[in-house]
Symmetry: C2
Subunit: 368 residues, 2 copies
């Protein structure tokens, strides 16, 4: 109605033809709120890991779908632009607009980064999500990441990880003494207290290190990824649980300046696509791990729970580390003080329905 | 550039003024891909339950944010348009465009509806999400819901629920005989096998029934909601776990015809907002339940685990029911045959890292 009136007012008298001529005009004004934007995202992961890497292209696909293809995010695997462990740096300095990464890769800059992925003996996956969405975690971490010039969104979960691959058995806490182990994030400092020598190595580089004997043990994620990385070929003892990662939270991080330039609707779309990527990745690992577990068992892998003495010794070392780190690092203390109160409440509650449901159902399966 | 050329071609020669006159034209054409749409959503829940009800306004808010306010969804509480347990019917027949509900409220129409919320002794929350997103659950249920003229999206989780409020203690399976209990969904048929008399009552109507003695017991969700509903005032025994709901999955359901009319970008936005609402609700329950648990304890509530004999008797009844229902109802059999294979694999896998992590961390908390 309005459009017809304008066309008539302009004296062109176009009927059908008017729509065609008007198209460029429309596209230009449409761009005010739905601009065509092309961004680059650098992932910390290699393309071969279709779940942890795959969350980023899935995220990009969802952003495009919600914006009629106007907002395009091109995804680059680790090392295509920068190495996997420099994804944050590249985002912080504007080399790329955004990254998909694990916050705890950057604990070398500040131990507070660990809370964005997992705290050893900390929250499990559900609890970590609750902490971010409703427990104050998002706000505390936003304030922290702000000092690194990025805005974060939860965008992926591995679930509780396996404890990893060991050439030799771990029977007592003393067996960790002198052990050279690839281990992600802050957990390295925990096992160092027990005499182990932790290494931070990106996913694609671990196998050769284990094969050559540069390291004695490694952890990555769980059966589905670990099978692809081939660790079972050189270390047969597969321990659980990965006490350092009851939650393996991934994030997209966006350069602050670039974030501020986005129209509000695109900002909302990024947040929503991150939530979708989170659930996509978590569900994909959960759905794929059981089959990989069975294939690994068929390859002669020995599944072993960490002895309780080992868990208790590692937990004691972890709690000491948190107190020491709180004393030395105010950013860490601020988050940890809130986190540990939240965790105590969560664990109290989860002991009721969640854990009793799981313990009954998992161990009383009907014979099939 | 294109726009300027058109304006010149049209012979108006407008510079600044052109933009003003062009505005109506722009709005009209913009509407081709970003139309202004107003929908109505009916919730199965009362406004007082700010988490299970609240997921719907949160969902609507996110849809609006992603569409620059063009796609507005007005949310109505239970009974404002139709009663809480008729949300599906109102969506199916087009009274409203969509609803937010629990699929298992409709097991009276077909027992297959139970898989959209929870199967007693079935998947836990994480596993239910994995089943929907990557285990074939979404596809199976889409095919089923299609026969009810709706399209579904996972949009909320209560987590594993509590077992509910009982005037008298449940010490043996025989104590369920003759018990009049409000219980959601398919679980009613399970406890009926043990002699109980199940009732399907919407959230807002339960308290008066329990107070008057029309029912002897009730379950709803968990501490946060149950405290609001006041059950502790008339029944002090609070049992766990809610073996019938290891997952309490909520959904938005959309009338198929209305769904088909949405532009693809709006369809993508609905899907993403549903994922956000899912995580919002799950996190909100998890974050709020611990404090409510403590307040209930301070009110003298007696927390009691169901005796193992009771759980085993109920599980036996449940498995018999599934076999009988499979024999009588092909839609149920089709989903259950796939679901039980998926569950066996999930439970196998979750016994490794997830469950051992939880069992260690929950029961070895440092003293605070």
């Amino acid at each position: 109605m309005e459009r017809r009136r304008f066309l008539n007012a302009a004296g062109t008298g176009l009927a059908a033809g008017g729509a065609m001529v008007a198209a460029p005009l429309v596209r230009s004004a449409y761009a005010q709120s739905n601009p065509e934007i092309k961004w680059r995202l650098t992932s910390s992961f290699p393309k071969s890991l279709d779940t942890i890497y795959g969350a980023a292209p899935y995220f990009a696909e969802r952003v495009a779908a919600m914006t009629d293809g106007k907002f395009q995010i091109q995804v680059f695997a680790a090392a295509e632009i920068v190495p996997g462990l420099q994804a944050l740096d590249a985002t912080q300095n504007g080399t790329v607009e955004m990254c998909h990464t694990a916050s705890y890769y950057y604990v070398g800059k500040d131990p507070t980064f660990t809370f964005g992925t997992a705290l050893p003996f900390g929250l499990n996956t559900r609890q970590q999500m609750a902490w971010f969405y409703h427990g104050g975690g998002n706000e505390l971490m936003r304030e922290f990441y702000d000092t690194y010039n990025v805005v974060h969104f939860v965008a992926g979960q591995t679930g509780a990880q396996m404890g990893g691959w060991f050439r030799n058995e771990i029977k007592t806490p003393e067996d960790l003494n002198g052990l050279k182990m690839r281990i992600g994030g802050f957990a390295g400092k925990v096992i160092a207290k027990l005499g182990a020598v932790p290494q931070q190595i990106a996913g694609g580089d671990i196998y050769p290190a284990l094969e050559k004997g540069t390291i004695d043990a490694t952890e990555w994620v769980g059966p589905y990824d670990d099978e692809k990385l081939g660790f079972f070929k050189v270390a047969k003892n597969y321990y659980y649980p990965g006490w350092w990662e009851g939650s393996g939270q991934l994030m997209v991080m966006v350069n602050k300046g670039k974030w501020a330039e986005l129209p509000p609707a695109y900002q909302a779309v990024v947040q929503a696509a991150a939530a979708e990527a989170n659930n996509w990745m978590m569900g994909k690992y959960d759905a794929q791990n059981p089959q990989a577990l069975k294939r690994l068992a068929a390859q002669g892998v020995q599944f072993k729970p960490f002895p309780k003495d080992v868990l208790l010794a590692c937990q004691k070392a972890a709690l000491e580390l948190y107190d020491e780190t709180s004393a030395s690092t105010p950013t860490f203390k601020k988050v940890y003080d809130a986190y540990k109160v939240f965790q105590a409440d969560q664990d109290l509650w989860f002991k009721f329905s969640e854990n009793t449901f799981d313990n009954f159902v998992f161990y009383n399966q009907p014979k099939t």
